[in-house]
């Protein structure tokens, strides 16, 4: 790991100011992705700005029809939260299956969302649960937030402060967990909001995406059989050492169906 300057941000404004003024800074949240990346020298920022000391960025609340998770809340806290388990059990279940217990004690929702890792679980949670990503500058719909491989709509000096998930009538997250890393080989979040259905897929493409054909079929009739014959093209999907793009396409159909089965 190359060395860097380390800063403890006093508050979000301080973090944002440092992000704008320093040479090549990076935000440090839980560090579960960033520190391994630095060790591999895949990144060499001049400065790390640690958000851990900002009390405002921790905690969970249910506000109206939304579950609000502040950016520095670790996965283990989301998973164990009685409020989340009651209002949005699919989110608690998603958070409780990220990585391993020690990773869940440090890794944060803000870090995961800001990174837009193609195999991370939270992007599917955000897009599937029609979330709003709140920053120090604006509110961004999850549909407009994740732009590509490790690419988001975040602009210079922008810091995620919370994620607001809309509470669905029902939802379920199913993933084919990579046995070594715990990352999603394919993960599918299915959520129903009245007559509307959202199907969000992570792990398969360069970035989380929705399957509109499945959404339309489930809106017509919410049953596993409705999507039994819907296939996703492998063309835009990822193939790698773990499995081919065709296999991932197949897994999307299987895991979407299983998610619906778990809901009806």
């Amino acid at each position: 790991m190359h060395n860097f300057n380390y800063h403890r941000a006093a508050d979000v404004a301080d973090a944002s100011g440092k992000l704008t003024s320093l040479d090549d800074p990076k935000i440090l949240a839980g560090g579960m992705t960033l520190l391994p990346t630095l060790k591999n020298r895949l990144a060499a920022p001049s400065d790390l700005i640690d958000l851990a000391g900002i009390a405002d960025l921790k905690g969970i609340s249910v506000e109206g029809n939304e579950v609000v998770v502040r950016a520095m809340t670790p996965h283990a806290v989301v998973a164990a939260s009685a409020e989340v388990q009651k209002a949005l059990p699919a989110l608690a279940q998603l958070a409780g299956n990220i990585g391993d217990p020690a990773v869940r004690h440090r890794g944060t929702i803000g870090g995961s969302v800001a990174n837009s890792d193609p195999a991370a679980d939270y992007p599917a949670g955000c897009v599937g649960l029609d979330a709003t990503i709140v920053t120090n500058k604006r509110k961004i719909a999850a549909d407009d937030f994740f732009l590509g491989l490790f690419e988001t709509a975040l602009e210079e000096g922008e810091v995620i402060t919370s994620v607001r998930f809309k509470i669905p009538d029902r939802a379920h997250y199913m993933k084919f967990r990579h046995p070594a890393s715990g990352y999603a080989v394919v993960g599918v979040m299915v959520a129903q909001y009245g007559s509307k259905v959202r199907v969000a897929v992570t792990g398969a493409g360069p970035c989380v995406f929705r399957v509109s054909e499945m959404e339309a079929a489930l809106e017509k009739s919410f049953a596993p059989a409705s999507i039994a014959n819907i296939k996703v093209s492998a063309e835009q999907l990822m193939g790698d050492i773990h499995c081919s793009a065709e296999y991932r396409a197949h897994l999307i159909s299987v895991y979407a169906r299983r998610a619906v089965e778990a809901m009806v």
């Binding site: 060395n3 860097f4 391994p36 790390l48 640690d50 283990a76 217990p101 990773v103 440090r106 890393s181």
Partner: protein
């Protein structure tokens, strides 16, 4: 540029000068000379470096020493009583032969204590899932899981 860090390790206030990039496990092993905490993979996978930070299991190879500023750290050296009486988890690993070469054992024991604290009465399946971030390449986990279940019951009884 060195940074001064202060924390509590095994109940004792410690401080030191570190580089920003110094990992917590390096600080524990190389500055404090507490070499019971091991580095297996250095990539957040194997769990040999698990310590407790404010009472919660974390991988000290994927945490900067500066991130532990002001925190209370417990390492494997801090588990036994001052008179040498083993912690129930250590005793159970001994009783059930929950180790062979012993390299992963410090992390396994620290994670075992964390599991017993968080999930009292966890069944075998849960314990096995909870060990996803701790890798043993000798024993096949049988003795480890038995030890954690056994010690968990002892710790539970002691709490009530």
């Amino acid at each position: 540029m060195d940074i001064e860090v202060k924390m509590t390790v095994n109940g004792k206030a410690v401080s030191g000068k570190v580089e920003a990039r110094t990992l917590l496990v390096q600080f524990i092993r190389e500055h404090l000379r507490l070499t019971g905490t091991h580095v297996g993979c250095d990539t957040t996978q194997c769990g040999c470096c698990v310590v407790h930070v404010d009472g919660v299991a974390m991988k000290s190879c994927t945490m900067l020493a500066v991130q532990a500023e002001g925190k209370a750290i417990t390492t494997i050296e801090g588990l036994a009583a001052p008179d040498g009486t083993l912690h129930p988890m250590q005793q159970a690993f001994r009783d059930h032969h929950g180790l062979q070469c012993g390299f992963c054992t410090p992390g396994m024991v620290m994670m075992g204590v964390d599991i017993a604290n968080r999930l009292p009465g966890a069944d075998e399946k849960t314990v096995r899932h909870q060990l996803e971030g701790n890798i043993c390449r000798c024993t096949g986990y049988q003795g480890i899981v038995e030890a954690i279940m056994d010690a968990s019951a002892v710790m539970n009884a002691a709490r009530s």
